[in-house]
């Protein structure tokens, strides 16, 4: 039947969730190989603030703007970097400010979730082709096509996919994230397909034998090319199911004190697992952190959500740093937009903040981005960019550069169109420029 060598080769091909069939895409072409150089960063942890977090209440406080802007958050706190103050509900992050930089002049001007999410995650203006999100691009240049041969998928999202737009855009299924599902803070985090409670390894093996025995049609079709891919996928899946690679999702192996510091919330556990995944070699992890679309009762929500975020995010930075991983791991925090600086006191909002795409904050740390810096400024109320606008494509282009991805490289396109990693002025896009001031 098949020679050993051939199986090895094919298995490698399916390995990182390749799913072939990406018609007309030359994999591993010289042009593509040249697109990836050794970068400072090897991996990205993206904390996606789903719904849009308030910039005033997090990383761009405006205590002088008055009660209609600050609400109850009138006392921002000093950080361990002199001159940088952040929101009063983030005391733990304040102690890590030397590790991250705040971009206070993010802008795209879009106030609809779905379009803003697209622009912020793809680094592409709206119109024409639907481009892939940063995670899919990294998966293209740091994943299987680039020789990644881990058993874990190269692009993992904790726990639910975005769903607001197609993460892999025109690049298709092959570059989609693996969504874990499940509840990270539960006693057993049942990662869909990888970890299932109550089925022993012995039963898994018995089941597999039973399946092969009852697969009458499949057995008749042995050798048919239509099923070759399917068989390799099954082999691959069983390596994960029966092997040890899935243990990376188990936080119980970690020190109890450290777990406590991350927090026992789903977000805290997700941060810890993200660190473990990066440690295991996964190049891109998104934590899809829900609950920031606070139109109503905004400050009540912030009072509970911010301490949870503060714990998880700050411990992640500290933990990565102590393990020597922060130098090679970019942590990117932000949502599709900020929230309106002016509080909506009137009914039905009763103290809410609405969508705000004109000016908002993102945070980057590690992987060659300096800490303890502020990029750009907003005006006195946080409603306008005052200095140094940063567009999503400036930020994401900078992330690609740190990873060693050539931003002018071609992306695979199903109809073979000439499409590139990042837009330029030649595409008619207004550029704020790469984040040179914090890139080392």
């Amino acid at each position: 039947m098949k020679t050993k060598g051939r199986v090895e080769l094919s298995r490698r091909e399916v390995l990182g969730y390749t799913a072939a069939g990406a018609g007309g895409m030359a994999l591993g072409s010289p042009q593509h190989a040249a697109a990836v150089k050794a970068g400072k960063a090897k991996a990205v942890i993206q904390i996606w603030m789903w719904g849009g977090p308030s910039h005033l209440d997090t990383f761009d406080p405006k205590p002088d703007a008055g009660a209609d802007y600050c609400g109850p958050y009138t006392a921002p706190i000093e950080t361990n970097v002199s001159g940088i103050r952040i929101g009063q509900r983030l005391p733990l992050l304040a102690k890590q400010a030397d590790k991250f930089s705040i971009i206070r002049s993010m802008t795209h001007g879009i106030n609809g979730h779905e379009t803003a999410s697209y622009v912020t995650q793809t680094g592409r203006p709206v119109g024409g082709e639907v481009y892939p999100a940063a995670g899919a691009v990294v998966s293209r240049f740091k994943g299987v096509d680039a020789g990644y041969d881990g058993l874990l998928p190269p692009y993992i999202v904790l726990t639910q996919p975005q769903g607001r737009f197609s993460e892999s855009g025109f690049m298709g299924l092959r570059y989609k994230p693996f969504a874990t599902g499940g509840k990270p803070s539960a006693p057993v985090f049942t990662v869909e397909g990888v970890i299932q409670q109550g089925i022993t390894q012995a039963r898994q093996k018995d089941r597999r034998d039973l399946l092969h025995m009852l697969d009458t049609y499949g057995n008749k079709m042995k050798g048919n090319p239509a099923f070759e891919q399917m068989d390799l996928c099954e082999e691959q899946a069983y390596e994960l199911i029966l092997g040890d690679a899935g243990k990376v999702f188990d936080v119980k192996t970690e020190d109890a004190k450290l777990r406590e510091r991350y927090g026992r919330s789903d977000f805290g556990a997700s941060c810890l697992i993200a660190r473990k995944l990066v440690e295991a070699g996964v190049p891109y992890v998104t934590i899809n952190y829900r609950g920031w679309d606070s139109h109503k009762k905004h400050f009540d929500i912030m009072n509970t959500k911010l301490p949870e975020m503060d714990r998880g995010f700050s411990t992640l930075l500290d933990d990565l740093s102590q393990r020597g991983l922060l130098d090679s791991t970019i942590v990117w925090w932000g949502g599709e937009f900020g929230r309106s600086p002016k509080i909506q006191w009137e009914a039905p909002w009763n103290g809410g903040r609405s969508h705000f795409g004109k000016c908002f904050s993102h945070v980057v740390a590690g992987g060659g981005f300096q800490g303890g810096q502020i990029v750009g400024t907003s005006n006195g109320t946080g409603e306008e960019v005052a200095d140094r606008p940063v567009y999503p494509w400036d930020l994401i282009g900078s992330i690609y550069e740190q990873l060693g991805i050539d931003t002018t490289a071609r992306l695979p396109h199903p109809q073979g169109l000439d499409v590139r990693v990042s837009p330029t002025e030649a595409d008619g896009v207004t550029m704020g420029g790469r984040l040179r001031e914090i890139m080392s």
Binding site: G112, G181, N224
Partner: protein
């Protein structure tokens, strides 16, 4: 009765012509066709291909036990009448039309509902496909009230060139990337006066003929002359809506009917006569020109009746060949020497699993307003909005409805999909929650009002699992293998039975159409 028999006879004649064309081509190439498929294979295949739905256990039993000589064509006729026929083909058309509330179509939920309902009604009533296309291309009015105008809204850029590109892709099955710029501009000129305006109602939009708009050449800045794709230059009066002129030409053109019949062939047989089905161009000739011409003529002759095309294909021997290859045709992937196996589409697969396990899926969208919640028992093939999805549908390659290309629906297998079906809590819960599948039933206790729970014997449970999951009876060998597993395993009987159902759901026979 006699009339319908006559129809049948004419029907068969037409289907025979298809077979003659396919088989003589195979003869030429020296490729032997596979054997005809069995009734049980046909049953499952035609349900999945026509209505995207598995036959139930009862339906399978009934069909398999029938002795009627015309039972296959009678089944085809009955499936046209099923509501799922309209559901399933609306799903397909809404993929191509990019029906989606959010980015990038941004139709908005109300307009998605209206548009989907219009498409479904058209398919349900078998609206001739020339009228179907014409309605989308020529309507004017509100996106909420005159649903087909949404055709002009579901585009990444609302400009004449983009409109022309999308129309060429959708209704001519051709990609304007291969055209020269002047040809595209000439076609775009027909859409230079498509106007868009808002109303006082939130997210309502009117699409209308706006004679004040001018479509200027991007370089010469002069008005572009309207030129049909066949090269004819057209002049129209100032108050004449050029969309009408274009759509008259379109629906009468060869490429329009070629596109429709080629797509139907692709949908039913897994490969276009011209392949890919949306890449009709001189450099990509049909694999069988005679066959394409014949189907195209049949479409026109029948008054643009798409069901007629379905019918003559489905009744053909070509469609009813086995998928099992023989020595001479294993490598053939373009000449229809056997039925090409294909993985079930995402929505069809989850619907099948839900039907077998008597479970449901939850779908909702909390952005944008108004929030949408889909009833629990609704099938996934009925989802109208491409923005409403689930991790399962995403994983199994449901099209994002970004571009309208056929290739957006990706049915290639991936290890993540395998992981999910083999080992996810999602699927495991569905299997283990279904007591009926495990053989439980309730019956009245003798002489009492109370019902008591009873269990079918294991042989019968296995038979029922086969009928529900694979739409056929198990062979004696299979029954014994499953029985052995249940009886000799250390597991509880209940768990062992779950494993049998799990195994059947993971067979290629289940995951593929074949």
């Amino acid at each position: 009765m006699t009339a319908s028999l006559q129809v049948d006879a004419a029907q068969n004649k037409t289907s025979l012509k298809i077979d003659r064309m396919v088989f003589s081509k195979l003869d030429e190439l020296g490729i032997p066709p596979s054997d005809p498929c069995t009734d049980e294979i046909f049953l499952r295949r035609v349900y999945l291909d026509m209505i995207g739905t598995l036959p139930t256990r009862q339906e399978a039993k009934q069909f398999l036990s029938s002795n009627g000589i015309n039972k296959r064509s009678e089944l085809i006729e009955s499936l046209f009448e099923r509501p799922e026929f309209a559901d399933y083909w609306s799903l397909k058309w809404c993929d191509l039309l990019r029906v989606k509330a959010e980015f990038p179509s941004k139709l908005w939920p109300n307009a998605v509902q209206a548009y989907h309902r219009w498409v479904r009604t058209a398919i349900f009533n078998n609206m001739p496909c020339d009228d179907f296309a014409r309605a989308m291309l020529t309507s004017s009015g509100s996106n909420f009230r005159v649903a087909p105008v949404n055709f002009y809204r579901a585009m990444p850029k609302r400009e004449p060139k983009e409109i022309a590109r999308i129309i060429a892709l959708t209704f001519m099955g051709t990609r304007t990337d291969f055209w020269d710029e002047e040809q595209l501009l000439g076609m775009a000129a027909f859409f230079g006066q498509v106007g868009y305006k808002g109303t006082a109602e939130w997210k309502e939009e009117i699409i209308f003929f706006d004679p004040t708009l001018k479509f200027l050449h991007p370089e010469t800045k002069e008005a572009v002359k309207a030129k049909l794709p066949d090269g004819t230059v057209v002049e129209f009066a100032t108050n004449q809506d050029p969309r009408l002129v274009f759509s008259d030409w379109l629906v009468g053109s060869q490429i329009f009917s070629d596109n429709i019949v080629n797509r139907i062939w692709y949908w039913l047989l897994g490969r276009g006569i011209i392949h890919e089905a949306d890449n009709i161009q001189a450099g990509n000739p049909p694999q069988n020109q005679k066959l394409l011409n014949f189907l195209s003529q049949e479409l026109v002759r029948s008054g643009y009746d798409m069901r007629h095309i379905y019918r003559i294909i489905l009744n053909s021997k070509t469609y009813q060949l086995a998928s099992i290859h023989n020595e001479g045709n294993q490598a053939d992937e373009a000449n229809f020497s056997h039925y090409y196996p294909r993985r079930l589409g995402a929505e069809v697969l989850i619907d099948a699993i839900c039907q077998i396990t008597e479970t449901t899926e939850s779908y909702s969208s909390e952005i944008p307003e108004p929030f949408t919640f889909i009833p629990e028992n609704q099938r996934s093939i009925k989802l109208s909005d491409g923005s409403i999805t689930s991790p399962f549908l995403d994983l199994y390659g449901r099209p994002p409805r970004d571009t309208g290309y056929e290739s957006e629906r990706n049915n290639t297998p991936s290890p993540s999909q395998k992981l999910h079906l083999l080992n996810s809590t999602h699927i495991q819960k569905k299997i283990s929650s279904n007591k009926t599948l495990m053989g439980m039933y309730s019956r009245k206790a003798k002489g009492k009002k109370k019902t008591i729970v009873a269990w079918y014997p294991e042989e019968e449970v296995i038979e029922n699992m086969y009928l529900a999951i694979l739409s056929r009876y198990p062979s004696a060998k299979e029954t014994n293998q499953a029985l052995n597993y249940i009886r000799n395993s250390d597991l509880k009987k209940w768990d062992a039975k779950i494993d049998v159902a799990w195994a059947l759901l993971n067979t290629k026979e289940f995951i593929f159409k074949h």
